[in-house]
Subunit: 361 residues, 2 copies
């Protein structure tokens, strides 16, 4: 019988060191013996073939379920060249931005009969290489990755050489020519800085400048360009360079408050940085909104529930995650199609952490 | 040649409708042709066999990497009866408690050469059944599940019949006899209620009573028992029955504040419920810690960063996730061992949301 994707002992009589059928698996043969039919009949019945009489089909299916029979995707994937697995590589899923993206990806994948194989690698290129190599070995039909800081086209060469359908999410590697779903990060920061300038701020810090990731570069560019447009100087003593974490927000806001000419407001790389910065303000006896203005980026669930609620740039994680999974499914269906890009337009959500500077009130 | 786990076209010349080798895969044959050696030599070289001369081995490995050759785990798993996949089924990963558990599981799994296949199902039994069935079809070496509310031994019968090594995380199905890692939830709530009574509270609400999950039953039991121990009545008008979500905390606290004899404090099922409750207090012009005491459960990262910071029961997600992955690996290695249980002892972390009741100050 051909390799048909159903549970069976591939070695026939079993090999040395491997229990025949493994872990007591129910094979087609066992079901066939029990019902006194051929394995071919069992296989056809389990595949809902009209060649098998209704009564037989139902009996086979009932017995198979009772005995804990399970379709074998490993065998099936050799036959169909599809695993129905989508690999997802993120640097951090405890950042709610990525947890929210992952939830949307998983939900969309499940609706299309795909499952998610997950790997994480912090911002560590060596770990990313190991994790992506491992994910690749499971032969996912495609992969979604948010590359670690410093990733280059060369870093991902082994995936591209293996022709794994690939979509970059949120962060984009320059010149790599791969599909991408993300946000217009520069535009988001422009909205944020314009809002602060409109309130009267002229000393605006940037917390979480991170040149190794496209989101970092684009958000910082939006900041620099908007300051320049309004004739405001770019002052490196109120720019804090670090990845966007709670801890870096907490440290960063205190660092810029110690500048010779301290800021009255801060643009934060993301919401996590903003939450940390709000905490850092409290360490100095200051309150966001009342004493100092803070703007985040992403609009994770937590943002609307802080006190005061966080003014932030909404990045639509639900839509972004869904679009990413859908783009990957299109890419899998048509590997030769030209590169696809979906760039969502972020929106500013004004809440309680922004106000005119204290001196002007 | 035997099925050796390396990349090859299992059908030989290719089948109708399936491109030979799929997605332009590099096969042993292609590498062998390129180097003018046998496929057996290529296979041995890729497995670091000492039977192949060093120079040949290195050349094969270099060419294989350049050409994007990848080890095929689908084929390998048929041979070894191991996929090195661990399935993880959770109801919600946007709850940071589960995101933190998942991160710890993934990290531990990766350290042991395993990858995580993820499925989520809200609190929906039908969806859980579909998701777990799909995960099972990938033949994970084992699975970690936090069962949806209302799950019974019968619900999981198909996994148990298939003898999938299984560890229950956080929530436990009564009488099912499966491995379990979780927290002593009753004890955690006892600590919380004792703390409030020690501060002078006698009207203590419970937000998030949820009898369909073991964590819900055990936490509520700790509440009832501690009230009884101190001779305090159990008042259903200040018990809010619902799953532990931000929204239910927000609604719940307002519901109990409307009771004829309102509470001065609330035990919340988890931190999310507590965050929602703190928000609900603000809707009424009240502040946690100053006007009303709130205790959460889990101690997610966000808890220490609220203002005021949340008094909560610490559940040690890092350790719990790590122990769960390790327990599953032991179970996979020894399917016949007796059921294992690891119940962590939670600790109360007193922060800013608890204080004596206002009237007594």
């Amino acid at each position: 019988m051909a390799n048909d994707g159903h549970s069976r002992d591939p070695s026939g009589a079993g090999k040395a060191g491997v229990k025949p059928g493994g872990r007591g698996r129910v094979t087609l043969q066992i079901i066939a013996d029990r019902l006194e039919v051929s394995t071919a009949t069992v296989s056809l019945a389990l595949r809902e073939s009209p060649l098998v009489a209704d009564g037989t089909r139902l009996r086979v299916q009932q017995i198979a379920r009772e005995m804990g029979y399970s379709y074998n995707r490993s065998a099936a994937s050799l036959r169909t060249d599809r695993t129905n697995i989508l690999g997802v590589g993120f640097h951090d899923i405890t950042n709610p931005y990525f947890a929210e993206l992952l939830a949307a990806i998983e939900e969309t994948a499940a609706a299309h009969g795909r499952s998610i194989l997950l790997g994480t690698y912090a911002e560590n290129l060596q770990r990313q290489d190991r994790v992506l190599t491992t994910l690749k070995e499971y032969r996912p039909d495609g992969m979604i990755i948010c590359p670690a800081g410093g990733t280059t086209a060369e870093t991902l060469q082994h995936l591209m050489a293996a022709q794994v359908p690939l979509v970059q999410l949120s962060r984009e590697i320059p010149g790599i020519g791969l599909d991408f779903v993300g946000s217009d990060d520069r535009h988001g920061t422009v909205l944020a800085v314009e809002h602060l300038i409109g309130l009267g701020h002229t000393r605006i810090a940037f917390l979480g400048e991170s040149p190794l990731i496209s989101t970092g570069r684009n958000r910082y560019r939006g900041y620099c360009e908007t300051l320049a447009k309004h004739g405001l100087p770019l002052d490196p003593t109120i720019v804090y360079s670090a990845y966007g974490t709670r801890e870096n927000g907490l440290k960063g806001v205190q660092k810029v408050l110690d500048a010779a000419n301290p800021p009255t407001a801060a643009i934060c790389f993301n919401d996590l940085t903003a939450f940390g910065a709000m905490l850092g303000l409290r360490h100095r006896g200051l309150e966001a909104g009342a004493d100092f203005s803070i703007i985040g980026c992403d609009d994770v669930q937590e943002a609307s529930q802080w006190y005061p609620a966080l003014t932030t740039v909404k990045n639509f994680q639900d839509e972004m995650g869904r679009k990413t999974a859908e783009m990957l499914l299109r890419r899998i269906a048509d590997p030769a199609a030209p590169p696809q890009r979906a760039v969502l337009t972020p929106e500013l959500v004004v809440r309680g952490t922004t106000a005119p500077p204290k001196a002007t009130r």
